[in-house]
Each structure stands twice: as C-alpha cells, then as structure tokens.
Amino acid sequence: MDIGSLRQQFDADVSGAASDADLRGVRDKYLSRKNGLIAAFMKTLGSVAADERPRLGQAANDLKQHVEQAIEARLADVARAAAAGDRTARAIDVTLPGRPPLVGHRHPLTLLRERVESIFLRFGFLVVEGPELEDDYHNFEALNMPAEHPARDMQDTLYLRTPIPAPGRAATLLRTHTSGMQIRYMETHQPPVRLIAPGRVYRRDGLDLTHSPMFSQVEGLVVGEDVTLADLKGTLVAFARELFGAERGTRFRPSFFPYTEPSGELDITCAACGGRGCGMCKGTGWIEVLGSGMVHPAVFEAVGYDPERYTGFAFGVGIERLALLKWGVEDIRLFYENDLRFLEQFPL
C-alpha cells in the first residue's frame, strides 16, 4: 500500500471512531511499534530503490505525526463532550426559589424616627429621652399652661389613679406631648441647648382612622444667645426638604402654642394635588407638618434661664403624621395592629 492510501484510510478510520476506546484502537492500529501499519510500511522500505528511500521515509514520519495530532485532537473533543454531558445531567434548576433566611423588619414608625434622628444628628442635635409618666408641672405648668388654662383642652389628658413616686415630683399623668423634656433638660443643663427628644405620648382620644390614644412625637429645642425665629424657619425648612424632597414647597406661618411666642406651623405642598388644592388639603394646597415657635419667656423663667440673655426655639412633630404624609398610610390604626402584611411592606 502506498503512503497516500494509508493516509486516506487513517482519515476514514479516525472520523469513524466515536469513543475514547475507539480512538485509542485506531492509534494502535497505525502507530503500534510491533504491528502498526506505519511500522509495517517502514519495513517495506528495504526493498525500495536507495534514492527513493529518504523521500518515502520522510513521508512515513509525516504521516506518523499527523496520526498523533489527529488522535490527540479527537480525544480532547470526546473528553469535552463527555464532560458537557455530565454537567447537563448534574445541572440544578436555578429558577426554583432560594431558601429564605429568617429576616425581621423594623417598624415603620422606627424607620421614620431613626430617619428624623439622623437628619437632626447631622444638624448637630443631641438625642435625649424622658419619662412617659409625668407630673402636671413638667407637662403643663412650667410650659406656661397653669391650671384652668384653656389650651389644656387641646390635649385631653389621661391621669393615673394613684400617683407614682418619682425623684422630684410624683407622676400623676401620661405625658400628652414630649414638650416636658424641654423643662427636664433645661432644669439640669445650662445653654447652649440643641436637642431632639423622641418618645411616646398619650391623649384621651378614641381610636379611629386619624386618632390614636397613643402616638409618637419628636420634640426639638435650641437655646442660645442668638437663636432667632429666622433660625427656626431655616431649620424646619431644611428638615422638611430632606425628609420630603426639595421638590415639595414649604410654608412657615403664624400659629399659637402656650409655651412658644411667636409660634408657627410648617406646611408642605400637598402631594395629592401638587398644591392646586384638593380634598386631602381641604382645598388649600398645603398640608400641616409640625408646630413650633420661639420659647416663651415664661418657660425660661420656670427653668431659671435669663429670658433677656437667651432666646430659643422649640418644635414638635408627630411621627405618625410624617408616615401618613410620606408613605400615604391613611389609617393610623395600622401602626398598632402589627399585622405582618403591613409591617413587611417596609424596608429591612
């Protein structure tokens, strides 16, 4: 057989071999030293004319290399195909759901409270907390609301059946606002003061869509030698922008609270109508966010601060109200029912 036919025969053999074993068989058939076809061909070279021998010897070597390369390449192909087949068999369904880790959600009122705290921490405010059981002096009297003051009607109070002893005065009521913390802090600290005091407050209100006998407030107080109403406006506007976004308009307008003078309320443009006026904002285009004002001189006198030397501002904001304005939670009861379908709507 001539070398050309041998090459053709090998090419046919190799393309007919499908498995690893077949390929190794083909390799032995051509390359085996003892009885391989190429070895057999080399043996025939002795009977060939001397001047033909080097050419044929070279051709035989070329064929040997070709066989080796072709077999190696095909073996690699077969191995790859086998591996691919294995992987397909072992493949998992990546579309099945993952195993859920146990996760818990913070309460939306906590999320908002922490948000408010972080804003005011950036503004350089201190966070303090105070008692929920209060005495009449800290809740009302020192805040320029003596007994029989008509403004006490604004905050229908829950009283304790039996006073609870406390350092100083016995607690007789559930605090109706966090403003008592203004007094508690100023009684024990000298100016400058710049704080917020978050906490639960209680009123003798029925539970309905918009009222709850318990809700949460954040009180703010800033006192110094040069604190002004303009500073109050600037602080509140900065707070509202940060919480609600710069695209919402703000309005600071006169109001009344017994323990601040002058007093003011902060409004933002109604999200429902964009300020054009609708049912939600009673046609005004504005939604009330919080109450505030300059600390009344009578409050400074109650805590022994010189009202000629110091000025200050205070504000109080309801967390539930912020949640309503920010997330559109229209039923305040949802915050206290603790239905997981509600709680789990808020980010982790």
Binding site: P150, P192, P198, T228, P262, E337
Partner: protein, 722 residues
C-alpha cells in the same frame, strides 16, 4: 368660628372673594377649617385659645382691616331714650370672680319681630331664630363676642341680682332643664332668695324669659376665666358663653354690648330700656402698657423691622403706640423680674410705649407685641437661617443607642418589630401582674390603673410587653398569617414606676418552609437562641433555670439571669444577690394565649428581658481583641448515658471543673433517647476542643484529660461512656 362673608364686608370693605379673605387671615394665624360657597358664603376659622376677641365678627373684621389697610366700621350702638326706671338692686359680692357687671331693665313689646337679614346671619352661624329678644342677644354675641343673659324681671325675688359664690347645698335648674348641684366655689347670679344663673355658663329655667315676659333684666358682665372654666368642666356644661368667658372676656365689652343690644331692640321694636344702665365696676382695670424695643424685635425675629412699621402694624389692631423719649435706655420686659442687660456700644435703638386694648387679653408682655409685628406678613419676609453651633454636644441618652442595637439584633434574628398600646384591658394585664419579681424593680405586684380611660380596653398600663404581643400574634393568626415572629422594645409599668423592656413572641415554623424540606415547628430553643444572641451582643453570660411563672407553661419555661461581676456586686443593695434575674423565656400558658384569641393546641413561645439590665449599646467599649491561636487544637467527641432529668448544664459544669485549662470549648451536638438507650436514660454527646496558647498538645495529654473527665462524670452523675 363661622364668619359670614357679607357680614364681614359690612364692617370692612374688603376687596376680593371669600378665598382671598380666608388666605389673608390664614397668613395672620387664623387657620381655615372650611369655606362654604353659595348665596351666603361662610368661612369657618379655627380660633386658637389665645384669641377670644376673634370669636366674633368684629374681631375677625379688625384683623382683616389690618391685613388690607382698610378702616373698620363700628355698628350703631347709640343708647335709645330710656323710659321710667324700675327698681333693681345689683351687687357684686365677689369682685375677684366678677370684676364688672352691667344690667339694664327693658320693657318688652310683643310687636317686635326678627328681621330677615338677622335671621339669615344667625342661621349662617349655625343658630336658630327663637324670639326677637333672644335673637338680638345672640346676634350681638356673634358680632362683638360678648355673651349676655336676659332674666324675667317678674321672677326675680326682691328685685335683686347678687353676684356671689353658691352656698353649700344650693341647686339650680339650668335652661336645658337639668337640675344642677352647685359647689361653694362656683359663681352664681342669685336673686334675693336663690341662684338664677350659673355665672358665665348658663341661665336658670325659673327666670327664663318667655312669651309672658313684660319686663326683663339684661346682664352683660365680665367673669374670671379660670372660674368659668372650672365650673363649666365640673358641671360638664360647655356653652357659647362659657367658651368665650373661659378664654378671657373684654372688660369694656360689658356696657358696650348692652348699648348695642338696646339699639337693635329699639330698631326692631322689641323692647325699650327703662332707666339708666347699671354698671358695677368696683376696681376699674388700668389699661396695660408695655415697652417694646426695636433691638429686641430684631434679636427674636433675626431680621430688623423698620421703625415706622411698628406703629403701622400695631395701631390697626387697636394698640396705641408712643415712641419713647428716653432713647437708649433699656428696660427689661415688665413681665419679668430680671434686670436689663447693660447698654451696648451700638447706636441707641428705637423704643415704644404700647397701650394694649382691653379686648387683647392675650397680650401680656413684650414678646406678645413682637409676635403681633411678626405675623403681619405671615412670616414670609423672614429669611431662612441656621442656628450657630457653639459647643460640642454632651453624651446622648445611652438608651437610644441600646434600643437601636436591640432592634438590629432582633431583626437579624428574624423577628419583626411590633408596637403595641401601653394601656390594655385589666383582664389582659392580670396574668402578668404577679410576675413583677422578674423585673428589675422590687416586687410589689399590682397594676397601674388609668383614672379616666376612654374605654375598658385602655384601662390599665401594661405590666409586661407580652400582653400586647400575645394580642398581636393572635391578630396575625386570625388573618391567616401562620408564622409570627414579633418583638417590641418599650416601656412597662408597675406601681414603682416605668422601666424599659424587650420582649418577643414566636409562633408557627422555626425554620421557614421551603420546597427542599418541610418546615420545622418552632420550639423553646428558637426563642432561647434569640435570647442568647441578645446576650452575646451585650456581652452577657446568661443562665437559664426552670421556673414557675404564672403566665408561662410549667416545664417549658425558664428564668434568665446572669452573674454579676465582683465589681458590680458591690453596687447591689443586697450583697448576697450575686445573680440577677433579668427576664423569662418559654411557652405562654395556653390558657393565657387562648384567652386572647390565639388558637388552642399550638404553642406560642416568648421571652421578655429587662432592657435596662442589658447594659449600654456602645460597640465594643470594653473589648480587648484576642490574637488568633498559634497552635492547633485537638477535638474529642464524648457520648455518655445519663439520667433523663439531668440538666445539660450540670454535665457541662462537671466537665469544666474536671478538665484542665486547655479545654477551650464544650458543646452538645446530640441528645438521643430511644432504641439502644435504657428507658430512664438519655444519650448525650459533646464535642470538646482542647488547645494551648503555648505549644502543640499531645494526644497523650488530651487522652489523660478525657479520662479524668469521664471518671468525674461517672462519680458525679453515674454517667456511662457509650
């Protein structure tokens, strides 16, 4: 208060529609509740408690006149010619509660009738037309804010009106037909015999005017606000009159209202005054005058107001403003006892002497005048500035950080945060009240009751957070939420005060359901794991002991305590109390859970800890980092048979005391009862880790340690190695 638009226009020629009036007054501090359109437009304002003068059309008209810079028209109040006087004896016996009392006798005509315009305005303000006399008095109250009352002259014994405190045991039947018992600090208007009206609150039925009334006595007075308020609250009787008087009445409105009523009654032909008006005013009030300093205005507002604007803003509101001659001297606010600061080197600033009109009962000191100046433009001209920060802040309240840390750890443990009411039903609180010994406070049992709860649902303050959490778990179950994991950080109450606690409940699955395996129901060790994780977050080594707790299921519940360090022990009152119980963990007693609507036959797992006992929320304040071990450890597993009832903690304790210090860790990894283990025994397997910080341990020394451990376990517990 309801303001009919056309009535306002009669007093001030305001330009613009009801909306623009509403907006202008809203900017001055009068919040608009609603605007009613139509033939008779009405703006409803919410009047703040400091402005009783604006519970009237005239008061709001004055604000509108100041807002628009237009004159205020005063309605005709010319006293008509009087007829023959009739005797009436008016005596103020308590001038503190009644500084001024005016009275006028009228001859009542039957020919009078209420004109249509008046009827319309009354109705626009939400009042029914009753009779010409009543209508006119109501009309004048709406117009001027001054309530008045008419007595039937014929019914007054002794033809006398005595303004005095009620006598013990006195009663009066008020116009609403209710007989009311009076108390000695209530002010009444009495005739010669008995009370005929509760001063400033409501008239009496006996002397009520009616169709048969020939002569009437009209009262127009000023009563002390606190007294009217106290009486109105005590009698639970809130009227148009009491609402106005308790906020403070204008002492000069008393005679003015009688003049206006007389003029109107004459005009509609309903009555004619007889004799002169009686005006009892024993100590006339001097008008209040206040200093106002330009410098102070700027210091409070943060913006200078031009000197000329001060009288321009105050005078339309009824204030009299005089520029002070003594420029450059500063006086403190007369309302304060504090000396004025020394005069500064700055150029002297303007000062004014301001006289307050009698109807502005709210303006008491300089700051109130500054408010009047500031609200003129609705604060729109105020710049938005930021207060300067002069010093570093003191330490924040450690509880804020601690509570935040508690929330982080518990949400990471898979519990969601709940907020439940601090007041609950007495019945819901009952199971928890006898358990206060597990709180930090000394036990005195009992519950804190609310004196005036709105309903029985909110009658007592919670002694435990678990009461609300059990309700929340039941609520979720009713709404088909099977797996409930909730926690709360909050205040709980006992007769010794309030403390903060952290509590959690766990119902349903312990591991979440997944297609790969069924869910495992939650058990004791799920909640215990949460408590242990909390303890580790706060660096506490807790001990758990079986405990009988009234609201927890016996056998499935434990008390949680920790050993105080020697240093902390010295601070404890009872020196022997080296262990402090800080809470509980276990299964809510089925009866307690079912009583709150939690399904029967299913365990509800819970824990509650005294948050204040956990320490601070600061990260790693007391931490010293340990270097990593340099030598390998040797691990040995040990399986023993012990009595079923033997606590694992006892086994662990014996192991620790028998082992050399190279035992660095011991943990149970299996507990088995069943085939191959005798009935009353349990197989317990522990993995022990030995390591030295100085060298590599040899097998031989660990074998020796294991032998000592096994023999110690045999001695102490009769344990047999498997």
């Amino acid at each position: 208060v309801r303001l009919p638009y056309h009535w306002l226009c009669e007093l001030v020629k305001v330009p613009g529609d009801p909306e623009s009036i509403a907006a202008a007054l809203a900017a001055r501090g009068f919040e608009v509740a609603s605007i009613q359109h139509g033939h008779q437009p009405v703006i409803d304002f919410e009047i703040t408690a400091n402005r009783p003068d604006c519970l009237s059309v005239t008061g709001l008209a004055r604000e509108a006149s100041a807002a628009f810079g237009l004159p205020l028209q005063r309605p005709d109040a010319t006293m008509p010619p009087a007829g023959q006087p009739q005797p009436i004896d008016v005596t103020i016996e308590d001038a503190e509660l009644c500084p001024r009392y005016c009275a006028q006798v009228f001859d009542v005509r039957t020919t009078g009738h209420t004109p249509e315009w008046m009827r319309e305005r009354l109705e626009a303000c939400g009042m029914r037309s009753i009779s010409p006399i009543v209508d006119v008095t109501n009309y004048v109250m709406l117009e001027t804010g001054q309530p008045t009352h008419a007595f039937d002259y014929a019914k007054l014994a002794g033809k006398a009106l005595r303004i005095r405190r009620a006598k013990a045991g006195e009663k009066v039947t008020t116009l609403d037909g209710v007989e009311r018992a009076l108390e000695p600090d209530m002010l009444v208007i009495a005739d010669g015999d008995r009370p005929q009206a509760v001063a400033g609150v409501m008239g009496g039925a006996h002397s009520e005017i009616g169709s048969g009334t020939k002569l009437m006595v009209l009262e127009s007075a000023c009563f002390k606000p606190a007294s009217v308020r106290r009486t109105s609250k005590r009698l639970a009787l809130k009227t148009e009159a009491s609402t106005r008087f308790e906020r403070g009445a204008d002492v000069n409105a008393a005679p003015a209202a009688i003049e206006r009523i007389a003029a109107l009654l004459q005009q509609i032909g309903a009555a004619q005054p007889l004799g002169p008006m009686i005006d009892r005013y024993p100590s006339p009030f001097a008008p209040r005058t206040l200093w106002l300093r330009a410098q102070r205005i700027e210091r409070v507002l943060g913006v200078a107001v031009p000197d000329a604007d001060v009288p321009a803003r105050l005078e339309p509101l009824g204030f009299t403003v005089a520029r002070s001659d003594e420029r450059g001297t500063r006086r403190a606010d007369p309302g304060s006892a504090i000396d004025a600061p020394p005069a500064s080197h700055l150029a002297p600033r303007a000062e004014w002497r301001v006289t307050v009109p009698s109807f502005r009962v709210d303006v008491l000191r300089e700051i109130d005048l500054i408010e009047e100046i500031a609200r003129h433009d609705g604060y729109t001209s105020l710049p938005a500035t930021f207060p300067t920060l002069a010093a570093a802040q003191p330490q924040p309240d450690p509880r804020t950080l601690r509570d935040r840390r508690l929330r982080h750890v518990l949400t990471a443990c898979g519990l969601s945060e709940a907020m439940t009411f601090a007041f609950i039903e007495a019945e819901a609180a009952a199971p928890f009240t006898s358990a206060t010994k597990y709180a930090q406070e000394p036990s005195n049992g009992g519950v804190v009751a609310v004196e005036n709860p709105l309903s029985e649902k909110f009658a007592v303050l919670r002694p435990s957070l678990l009461a609300g959490l059990v309700d929340a778990a039941a609520h979720n179950r009713r709404r088909q939420h099977h797996d409930v994991r909730l926690f709360e950080v909050g205040t709980r109450f006992s007769p010794s005060g309030e403390t903060r606690a952290v509590a959690g409940v766990w119902a349903g699955a312990g591991t979440p359901a997944h297609w790969s395996a069924g869910a495992r129901p939650a058990d004791f060790y799920d909640v215990k794991g949460v408590v242990e994780t909390l303890a580790s977050a706060f660096g506490l080594a807790l001990e758990f002991e079986p405990a009988e707790i009234p609201y927890l299921e016996p056998g499935n519940s434990a008390s949680v305590s920790f050993r105080l360090t020697p240093e902390a022990t010295q601070q404890v009152v009872v020196a022997s109390a080296v262990r402090r119980t800080i809470g509980v963990v276990g299964q809510i007693a089925p009866a307690t859970a079912e009583a709150r609507g939690f399904p029967a036959g299913e365990p509800l797992w819970a824990f509650e800890l005294d948050a204040d006992a956990l320490g601070s929320g600061h990260d790693g304040d007391d931490l010293r980092a340990e270097s990593l071990p340099r030598f390998p450890s040797i691990v040995r597993d040990l399986s023993i048979l012990v009595e079923s009832g033997l606590p694992a903690a006892a086994v662990r304790g014996t192991i620790r005391s028998a082992a050399p210090s190279t035992l660095v860790h011991a943990i149970e990894f299996d507990r088995y009862k069943g085939k191959g283990v005798p009935e009353d025994r349990v197989s317990l397997s522990l993995r022990l880790t030995f390591r030295s910080a100085e060298r590599t341990l040899t097998d031989a020394e660990v074998d020796a340690a294991m032998d000592r451990i096994v023999s110690a376990l045999a001695d102490a517990h009769g344990a047999v190695r498997r």
